[in-house]
């Protein structure tokens, strides 16, 4: 029973094991589950994992609706007049642009933006070990950053408490999707998905083609109204029927956005970096130019837009190995007794302080926890009794309906990452074996910030 309760605390610490499998191991001999069904991020999947969308799909239906209505009005009211008075190619061009816009939009929305899968328990434990052995003697854990050199320039990598890994360069954690995304640009509510490494070119095609489409429609509508004026027909009625108003307001914002992203593509920057001013020359005394640029507009454009298409790393349609979940269930029963013997009072006191520090750090870090009382309270976690602490987090809903879930989950992850007592809750069968490793294999500069 105890093992079942421990496993229910944080099934997300296990990258593949579903909650239902842990609480009912005897029913595991059912149909094999695909990895998208147990994906820990806030995403929605369709067509058996082929299509991925953010759970907060934002205003994607509105985007689609606006595009379809605008084009519909254009084809219905402007095209007949213009075909008669100008050329038949107008609806042809309009139609081709419309199809391209819709396809690009779907491609942007339904493609994995470059989500990084969360670290396996072994990996997380290895990183923990490296950080712990970097010489921090006080109980307060240092801020988790790591400095590396990229093209002779110092770049700081941050540790992601949710995904339990140091984020690769240019990767950022999207709080809306709860995933680390490579080359994170921004989370776009209009397309209902993050824009990252894998779908940036689709996003760029979408906004460029949308600029052409809206400019084209705007031009055609103005032409139509002008011709009507000259012909002396009713102008007011024509204005009412044409998509002039929608076009007028959207064309400037879309043109502006296209211009902005063209600048980003030409300088090999992301929106995230541009907003934060990561590579602005005004910051700091040392030369902090963009280390990723190819120092040429054409080359930057080609690299960003025509570069090779990287694969999806999350393997949505793969099957969850059934033995891993069962193995995790079995191992936790076997390994509990040795671990409980290890928990002397010193470790509990230290770990409790670590927990409190980490919770404060996590709250600031994520900043999504509302004023409402989260179900995991610090007092509940102070108990060195793992069972008591195990109960408190398990009360929190696993679904992302409550906004405090992200915060609570980050706290849970913090617990499990730094407290050996709480590591029981996320059974890592290889944890003791990782500790057997003799020395650090890589020397990286762990520079704790003051």
């Amino acid at each position: 029973m105890k093992s079942c309760e421990y496993q229910q605390i944080d099934p997300r610490a296990l990258s593949v094991s579903p909650l239902s499998a842990q609480s009912h191991p005897q029913t595991k001999a059912q149909r094999p589950r695909r990895k998208w069904e147990v994906f820990p991020g806030k995403n929605r999947f369709f067509c058996n994992g082929r299509i991925i969308l953010s759970r907060q799909s934002g205003v994607l239906p509105l985007t689609l609706g606006l595009i379809v209505i605008t084009c519909g009005l254009f084809f219905a009211f402007d095209c007949p007049f213009l075909v008669e008075h100008l050329t038949v190619f107008i609806p042809v061009i309009g139609g081709a642009l419309f199809v391209f816009v819709i396809l690009s939009l779907f491609r942007t929305s339904f493609t994995d933006p470059g989500i990084l899968p969360r670290a396996t328990p072994d990996e997380a434990a290895d990183i923990e070990r490296q950080i712990d052995s970097s010489g921090s003697s006080s109980y307060r854990p240092p801020p988790r950053t790591k400095e590396i050199l990229i093209n002779q320039q110092v770049v700081k990598l941050k540790y992601c408490f949710t995904c339990k890994m140091f984020r690769p360069p240019r990767t950022s954690h999207c709080s809306l999707c709860d995933n680390c995304v490579e080359r994170f640009d921004h989370h776009c509510p209009w397309v209902g998905n993050c824009v990252g490494k894998r779908n940036y070119r689709f996003f760029y095609s979408f906004i460029i083609s949308l600029s052409f489409l809206t400019s084209f429609i705007f031009g055609c509508v103005i032409t139509h109204l002008t011709l009507r004026c000259h012909a002396g027909k009713s102008l007011i009625q024509a204005i009412q029927e044409s998509p002039l108003v929608i076009c007028f307001f959207s064309v400037w914002s879309i043109l502006g956005l296209s211009g902005f992203h063209t600048y980003l593509v030409a300088s090999n920057l992301t929106t995230n970096e541009d907003i934060k001013g990561s590579w602005s020359s005004k910051r700091g005394a040392e030369d902090s130019g963009n280390p990723y640029t190819y120092n040429g507009i054409i080359k930057n454009c080609c690299a960003t837009l025509c570069g090779p298409m990287p694969p999806s790393l999350i393997d949505r349609r793969g099957f969850v190995p059934p033995d891993e979940a069962a193995a995790a269930a079995c191992t936790s029963e076997i390994e509990l007794p040795p671990f409980t013997a290890k928990n002397d009072t010193n470790m509990c006191t230290q770990s409790t302080k670590d927990v409190l520090e980490r919770m404060l750090h996590s709250s600031d870090f994520h900043g999504v926890c509302p004023a409402g009382p989260p179900k995991t309270s610090p007092l509940g976690l102070e108990a060195s009794d793992s069972l008591g602490a195990a109960r408190a987090p398990s009360m929190c809903s696993r679904r992302a309906d409550s906004p405090c879930t992200t915060c609570a989950r980050s706290r849970k992850d913090s617990l499990h990452s730094i407290n050996p007592a709480f590591r029981l809750a996320s059974p890592s069968p290889s944890l003791p074996r990782v500790n057997l490793a003799l020395s650090d294999t890589q020397e990286k500069g762990f520079i704790p910030l003051p």
Binding site: I150, P169, R201, P308, I334, V434
Partner: protein
């Protein structure tokens, strides 16, 4: 790869080398614990070959431009029916890793996991010793060996 089968219990991770940017490249630093198990040159050869494969996959040149322009011209529908160059190279990499495991690493009790299964973040090397079905009992004995009571 199942953690329970790593009886000795050591899992090593070769991290990414970002010195040249975000292109996929792994560090060739040899973990000292593996010195007794495998020759340094063999290990370095494996990692360098993998790095070369990844460099080939991510090369920005004529073929990738052609692929990108063709994809754009077909409104990216071509990705639904065509395998990208990256995917082709990934298959080559999977085959190479399997071959290396069979010929070099498994005889020495080691196992390399394809980086794509770890999100291209690490090359995972596990020390694997075939002792039949004694997985769970051995793991608990290794735990008791490591704890100081």
């Amino acid at each position: 790869m199942r953690p329970l089968e790593t009886v000795c219990g050591c899992v090593f991770f070769i991290q990414r080398d970002y010195s040249e940017g975000t292109t996929c490249k792994f560090q060739t630093k040899f973990p000292s614990e593996l010195e007794t198990r495998i020759e340094r040159s063999l290990f370095e050869d494996t990692v360098k070959t993998l790095n070369n494969y990844y460099a080939e996959a991510e090369k920005i040149g004529g073929q990738s431009y052609l692929e990108g322009c063709l994809a754009c011209a077909t409104a990216y529908l071509i990705f639904l029916c065509m395998e990208t160059r990256y995917e082709k190279v990934l298959k080559k990499i999977a085959k190479y890793i399997q071959e290396q495991n069979e010929k070099i690493y498994a005889p020495r009790g080691l196992l390399i996991t394809d980086p794509i299964e770890r999100g291209m973040r690490v090359i995972e090397i596990s020390i694997y010793e075939d002792r039949g079905s004694s997985g769970s009992s051995s793991s608990s004995s290794s735990v008791s060996g490591s704890t100081t009571r």
